[in-house]
Amino acid sequence: MGMSQIKNALLGTLRAGTEVEDRDAGFTVRVAENQKRVFQIAYSVLGNAADAEDVAQEAFVRAFQKSALLRDPGKFRAWINRIVFRMALNRLRASRRQLAREDAWQAHRAEDADGERAAENHVMLQRMRTEIANLPERLRCVLLLSLVEEMEPSDVAAALSIPAGTVRSRLHTARKLLLEAMR
């Protein structure tokens, strides 16, 4: 091995260091750009801010650690959506404290309640959440993701790996069942 190869190896190490710094900076930007939506996805599934923050943070860290697997950086948005949604669902399924979480969520909503109308809305919201939880999972997932800000049907489709047309039909069915249940 000649000196030129050693030199190349040293340059490679330095270059790798620069790439790492770039990736770190990229991570910061991506967190800033996606944090709201990622948090909302977790919140829509889990129903309370503390758990949603936990899962959202975990999802970002996992995405960052596995960022080498993402060949197309342009697909980060769909990728992180899918990761956080799966993680939130897993946490929900694994948790035996779902009822307590519902209470926590209700308490959180109660903070916003102001007046008779707000109280009525609060009750309806509680009931709506219960009814959403009773929907078949394939419909519930589509509905919850569609409720998140900035989530177009194409985003939901990418997150769930289903066609956009299926997203629209499932969303319609979910809303119909929910409306019927809310009678």
């Binding site: 091995m1 000649g2 000196m3 190869q5 050693i6 190896a9 040293l10 190490t13 790798a16 260091g17 790492v20 770190d24 991570f27 910061t28 967190v31 800033a32 944090q35 709201k36 948090f39 909302q40 996805i41 919140y43 829509s44 129903g47 309370n48 801010a49 949603a52 923050e53 959202a56 943070q57 970002f60 860290v61 960052f64 650690q65 969520w105 959180h108 909503r109 916003d112 809305n121 309806m124 919201l125 709506m128 959440r129 959403i132 919850l144 409720l147 998140v148 800000e149 319609h172 809303r175 119909k176 929910l178 409306l179 019927e180 809310m182 009678r183």
Partner: protein, 182 residues
């Protein structure tokens, strides 16, 4: 009697109206051109009221539904915490990888130095290297080599010269008598 008939009519109507449930839900969710439903609604006050009720509920539902996902907000320093956690999680593997890089480079350098020494060992180590078999053989030959003049040392001549009487001496060895014997 009239009351009983009205009850019967209402019951019959409700039974018949159940088949419109799905149509009513669809009409509440989306503008519809379901002419059969329109005809039914024109003659069925209950279903018309039900549709209005469903529409009102749907509006309320649509207004509240986003709160299911948007009701909570992340904490103020959420993003900073996430970045910190992400970089902390990455740092350990990075440090490990850099350590491996350094170890690899050290090994490469060590190999380079070793290769250099081996290639130049003639220059640095010739004095101390053991002699080859051919050289040993030549050295042994030199040890046993005799100059042509050395041949005289093994030739009987020198012994003859040695044993020959010197000038004035005889070949016949005559023991000399000691004074006492004389």
């Amino acid at each position: 009697m009239i009351g009983e008939i009205d009850d019967w009519r209402n019951k019959k109507m409700k039974t018949e109206c159940t088949k419109w449930t799905d149509h009513l839900l669809e009409a509440a969710l989306l503008p519809t051109q379901d002419y059969e439903l329109q005809r039914h609604l024109a003659g069925c006050e209950d279903c018309a009221q039900e549709l209005e009720s469903l529409k009102a509920r749907r509006e309320k539902m649509d207004a509240l539904l986003p709160l299911v996902a948007r009701g909570g907000q992340p904490a103020e320093h959420f993003a900073a915490r996430v970045v910190e956690a992400g970089l902390a999680g990455k740092r350990r593997p990075q440090a490990r990888r850099r350590m491996w890089d350094l170890a690899w480079l050290t090994a490469v350098l060590a190999l380079g130095v070793a290769a250099g020494l081996l290639m130049n060992r003639g220059r640095f180590m010739r004095r101390h290297e053991p002699a080859s078999g051919q050289e040993v053989e030549m050295a042994e030959k030199l040890t046993h080599w005799r100059a042509p003049s050395d041949a005289l040392l093994t030739f009987p001549g020198p012994q003859v010269l040695h044993d020959s009487p010197r000038l004035g001496e005889t070949y016949i060895t005559i023991p000399l008598l000691k004074d006492r014997e004389e």
